[in-house]
């Protein structure tokens, strides 16, 4: 039994990572403490350095990667924000850095429990993103991540995401693979693109002047990210061959004959799957699509999975203030040109770790069943999930705060 954080640490250990610059932040800290202990005990031949901030940490990790070692780092939430400038910078260096983000709602108000505004803020940076539902998936995704981004057709950094608390501190059965098997799947990193050595001076991260040069390099990053879609499929196949577990870009749950489909990500998908089971008991042809690879966005896979359904409800565990659900917009862009496009509804739930109750799922399925025509309720704006109990409790707290 391993927590999500321990599973991440095992992924790093099995990937035989050389270098780990760190900075503590809840709920990620257990990962770096676990690695520090292993290194101190001689179980892992890596160097771990506690930096002065996440900004410095991501810089050091990226620079080490640009020098030619296999590097890892991890952060959460405010830490990701503090290092944000360096996400774009390191992605532009075209280095295969792997970083774990343990999702946590963003300040303010400052909080501890998860939502995905932190990781989705990084969606345009050039980092690839793999979002995990289970602890096993965290470990496996780390191994897949190195193989994916060290491929010469990709050479972009990647974030492996898990939810704080709900996954980071939840113990689940995890199969820890043998190092020898991992070595067969993940060969040592041989830098042919970015490195520093005396006999071959190289200027990296240099300035450009003018839009045509700038565009050229940005387009290259985009095309490399698109390449990652095909490379991902190969990596996926090889991973399954070696370890017997399959992780496609998306995961369908009871999708085959589903008319009403929930779209979710990360650990709350487990709640969604339970809600699908319940809806099926009520005779509703329900299903769930879990997005796993968020960058690059697997447009064709998503379109293939959703077209022809009667209604789709995207449950965004994030909120783009003034717009609504971030992934709803992205799913809408996949479906707009489809002839058989489903009704598309948007819900916001699970912010700051707020539960999504069975009643709220029922409400969502009822909305999907009710929806008629393009002017259907919930199709133009995101609906904000909140239960009556929660509302009453908030009213009580406001009373205590003197704002009743």
């Amino acid at each position: 039994m391993l927590t999500g954080n321990a599973a991440a640490a095992w992924g790093v250990r099995l990937a035989e990572v050389d270098y780990i610059p760190v900075y503590p932040v809840t709920p990620q800290t257990e990962i770096i403490e676990t690695l520090a202990k292993w290194i101190s005990d001689g179980d892992m031949d890596s160097k771990l350095v506690t930096m002065d901030s996440e900004h410095s940490m991501i810089t050091a990790a990226g620079a080490a990667s640009a020098t030619g070692v296999r590097a890892f780092t991890a952060t959460s939430s405010q830490g990701l924000m503090y290092g944000f400038e360096m996400l774009y910078t390191v992605a532009g260096w075209r280095v295969p850095l792997v970083m774990v983000n343990v999702s946590r709602g963003l300040s303010s108000p400052i909080t501890l429990e998860p939502d995905h505004n932190d990781v989705l803020a990084a969606r345009d940076s050039g980092f690839l993103q793999i979002h995990c539902e289970t602890c096993q998936e965290v470990l496996d995704s780390l191994l897949m991540a190195y193989r994916l981004v060290e491929d010469e057709q990709v050479l972009l950094p990647v974030i492996v995401n898990m939810d704080g608390f709900y996954l980071s501190f939840t113990r689940e059965p995890v199969e820890v693979p043998e190092l020898e098997t991992v070595r067969k799947f993940l060969p040592p990193y041989q830098p042919r693109h970015a490195f520093f050595k005396a006999s071959q001076p190289m200027a990296q991260g240099v300035a450009v002047l003018g839009g045509s040069m700038y565009s050229y390099f940005k387009y290259q990053m985009h095309l490399a990210s698109q390449n990652a879609l095909n490379v991902y499929k190969e990596v996926c196949g090889k991973f399954e061959k070696e370890f017997g577990r399959n992780y496609d870009t998306i995961e369908g749950y009871m999708l085959e004959d589903a008319k009403y489909v929930l779209v979710m990500t990360n650990s709350f998908s487990t709640l969604g799957k339970a809600a699908v089971n319940k809806a099926r008991e009520r005779g509703i042809k329900a299903g769930l699509l879990r997005l796993r690879l968020i960058r690059p966005f697997p447009v064709e896979d998503i379109t293939g999975a959703l077209k022809g359904r009667r209604a789709v409800a995207v449950i965004d565990q994030n909120i783009s203030i003034g717009k609504g659900g971030i992934l709803h917009s992205e799913i809408a862009s996949c479906l707009y040109n489809e002839k058989q496009r489903p009704h598309l509804l948007s819900f916001i739930g699970g912010l700051g770790g707020k539960n999504i109750s069975p009643g709220e799922f029922e409400f969502i399925f009822d909305n999907m069943i009710k929806v008629r025509g393009v002017e259907g309720e919930g199709e133009k704006t995101s609906q904000l999930l909140y239960t009556e109990t929660e509302w009453k409790e908030m009213a009580r707290l406001k009373g205590i705060a003197g704002k009743g």
Binding site: S53, H55, A60, Q204, A207
Partner: protein
């Protein structure tokens, strides 16, 4: 693990200084040029001259880790004036970039994936904006971790690359884009220059020095001395900036020299915290000789003489040298 267990605290002071072979005149400067001409810096850039001397001392087996500033424009795709490697990071974090590269090179050598002959010196290169302000935390972190690196700060006493705005390095009474002398604030910058040397020195790094492009012999000897130490080796170069300082581009070296001769820029070094001055003028020139040459201080002389401000600057300089018992 962190720190490598190599930091021995104050016992490092016990390390005896090795005898180094000092050069005596500019005729002895290393002839090799590692910064080639044709850069887009402004004519008369004092910082570039200082860097040219530094790179003569450091040689070719170097990777420069740069922070946002004037010198970021030295390497513009697809050109570089350097014979060595380069990584541009961002404004606040060049020392963190140096940490990643140094650690990675050490790991590669240790794991026999890199020939030790291929190893590099890691050199941070930043302006004063990054060094005095935004990058102070990452610099403090790198010194604290006893990172084996060089740090060259070209200090032109303002945010030069954005057109000369006040930084923590801007001296009292300087005109800058954000401290324009006016009816309400006739003096310009009312804050004195931050003492970065003392801030850095409070970490007791193995080697720390101020340098000047007008004193290349002193500069080269300081690099020679620094070379014997493993750990942070830090240099602050006062760097006349013709457009910002309001001087003719042919006056850079003259101004750099006047800064030393008036006692405004003290040439010194510190070994594990112990400070020693390396160039002490026999007779200090009045600070006015330095100030009156520069457009950034012109408001102290015209339309009216700002006696109080001028006295204050002279007093600050006198106080410094008195404190160090070097004012004769």
């Amino acid at each position: 693990m962190e720190g490598n267990g190599e930091i021995e605290g104050d016992s490092r002071k016990g390390v005896k200084e090795m005898e180094i072979e000092r050069i005596k005149s500019i005729k002895d400067l290393p002839p090799e040029e590692n910064v080639l001409p044709g850069t887009p810096t402004c004519a008369g850039c004092g910082g570039l001259l200082a860097l040219r001397h530094c790179m003569k001392a450091l040689g070719k087996r170097v990777v420069i880790v740069n922070a946002a500033g004037c010198f970021t424009l030295l390497s513009i795709y697809p050109f570089t004036p350097f014979k060595n490697s380069w990584l541009y990071t961002a404004m606040a974090c060049a020392p963190a970039g140096a940490q990643g590269i140094r650690d990675a090179l050490d790991i590669l050598v240790k794991k026999s994936r890199l020939d030790p002959e291929e190893d590099l010196k890691v050199v941070v290169l930043t302006g004063d904006g990054a060094a005095y302000d935004m990058g102070l935390s990452s610099t403090s972190g790198a010194i604290y971790r006893n990172l084996d690196f060089y740090y060259i700060c070209y200090d032109n006493e303002a945010y030069g690359n954005t057109g000369f705005q006040r930084s923590g390095a801007t001296p009292f009474a300087s005109k800058t884009g954000t401290t324009p002398p006016g009816r309400i604030s006739p003096i310009g910058s009312e804050l004195p220059k931050k003492d970065l040397f003392e801030i850095w020195n409070s970490h007791k790094p193995p080697y720390l020095a101020t340098i000047s492009p007008a004193h290349p012999v002193d500069l080269i000897n300081k690099f020679k001395k620094a070379e014997q130490y493993k750990g942070p080796k830090l240099f602050i170069a006062l760097s006349p900036c013709p457009p910002g300082w309001g001087i003719d581009s042919s006056y850079s070296v003259k101004l750099a020299k006047l800064a030393v001769d008036t006692g405004i820029w003290a040439l010194k070094e510190a070994v594990f915290g112990e400070v020693k001055h390396t160039v002490v003028p026999k007779r200090f020139k009045p600070v006015e000789d330095y100030l009156k040459e520069q457009g950034r201080f012109a408001h102290l002389f015209k339309p009216v003489r700002r006696e109080e401000a001028l006295n204050k600057i002279q007093e600050m300089v006198n106080e410094y040298w008195n404190r160090h018992k070097l004012l004769l």
